[in-house]
Amino acid sequence: MILDKFYAFVIAVTTSSVSCLTYADIPLYPTGPSQDSAFVRFINGTDVNLSVVAGETKAKVSLNVNEPASKYYPVATKVKITGEFSDGKVSNPISLNVKPSEFATVVALASGSNLKQVIVKEQPDDFNALKSSLALYNLSSTGCTSAGLLVVDRSITLFEKVQIGTLQRRLINPVSLSVQLTCNTKPTGKVLDLGLLQAGQRYSIFAVPTADSPRIFFATDTIAR
């Protein structure tokens, strides 16, 4: 849509120092996209190395135990996202749709000798470059139906009552933190050192099941470029 006539008229009545071509060339551009962006990432919640392979492109991403979180990948919202998790022996198919504004997290978990998955979606509205954004995902088993997170040595509760298969997210000051999971208000597992959090950065802590008690690990929410 071009504002040729409009601007050609405006130029005639507002100034004589600029040619008609100047204003006539200004288009009525869109202010923002037709729909919001959407993203998906993949998490290895098992204790063995996994890979995830995209259904269409066959692109492969390693999800090692020591680096269990992929980046967030921008995705189209009108097509189904497919792929599969694999540990080289067994695989688990991935199939989901993501809506505009959604950040979807697909987590692979152990299920006996097989794999299963949990999909958790969020539509964040806490974007802030002056603070750090931290989320707790409760992906643990029935042993931790209500998860929380304590700041070690400060008697501060960052999260509480995070139900299985859900997440909570909040803004915090960019400081150094060590945290510990709570299950039904009881401190559980090892202390996790998050280091110095960065302003403007988004982070996630995942509580996943193990043979003993749930464990937590930490990932930076990075967007793939």
Binding site: S17, I26, T31, G32, Q35, D36, F127, A129, L130, G200
Partner: protein
């Protein structure tokens, strides 16, 4: 504001349609900054959002200017230049970004994830060059007079967009243009683009703010 307050500093000013035509913001802003002693490189690209300055992106019109020299206009062959290339070429002490209206999604739901990702990517790109950065937010519009509010710019949305930018442009310093005038005070052609008087007032207010920023005072030492 004393003359030559910006002596010795080089500015790169990039922006959207407001910066893309001679009688819009580019001319009065670069004139004002130049009067303060700055060397000013101005580049405008109609409709360009923050992410469009990360890679060469075709736009429908644009312009560039050095100091108070002649404005060079680009038509349908216009495009953005990646910000790192501009910084490498012009070696600015300060990058000034005039972007807000093109990302405000006037007349439709605000695309928050998209805006956050675009804005944070651009600010990080600039920060990676260790260049100071100032982000100038959108000003109030009006009803567009006899030509109507062509872009659907509303007071509520521009206030929301300004707040969003204030929270998300760090480490750039944010200049809130909404503080420069009252809603509808500066007349527009189409609800968004000002008459020359409005652009002169906006350019003057931006320059005053820049001169008084602690970061800028520090940079001159």
């Amino acid at each position: 504001m004393s003359a030559a307050s910006l002596l010795g500093l080089t500015f790169l000013v990039i922006g959207e349609s407001h910066m893309s035509l001679p009688n819009f913001l580019m001319e009065p802003l670069s004139d004002d900054l130049t009067k303060q002693g700055a060397l000013v490189y101005s580049v405008g690209a109609c409709g360009a959002s923050a992410g469009d300055w990360l890679k060469k992106t075709p736009v429908s019109c644009g312009a560039w200017r050095t100091g108070n020299g002649e404005v060079v206009r680009k038509g349908r062959d216009a495009s953005t230049t990646p910000i790192k290339e501009l910084i490498a070429a012009d070696k600015p002490d300060v990058v000034v970004i005039i972007i807000g209206d093109t990302m405000a999604s006037y007349g439709k739901p605000f695309s928050q994830a998209w805006a956050w990702e675009n804005i944070s990517h651009l600010t990080k790109e600039i920060a990676s060059t260790k260049t100071k950065c100032i982000w100038v937010g959108p000003p109030w519009g009006d009803d567009g007079g006899r030509y109507g509010n062509k872009f659907g710019k509303t007071e509520n949305r521009v206030q929301f967009m300004s707040n969003f930018l204030a929270n998300n442009v760090s480490p750039c310093t944010y200049i809130d243009s909404l503080k420069f005038s009252k809603p509808k005070q500066w007349p527009t052609l189409d609800g968004q683009h000002f008459t020359l008087a409005g652009y002169q007032a906006w350019g003057s207010a931006i320059t005053r703010s820049i001169v008084n920023l602690p970061d800028i005072k520090q940079a001159k030492k």
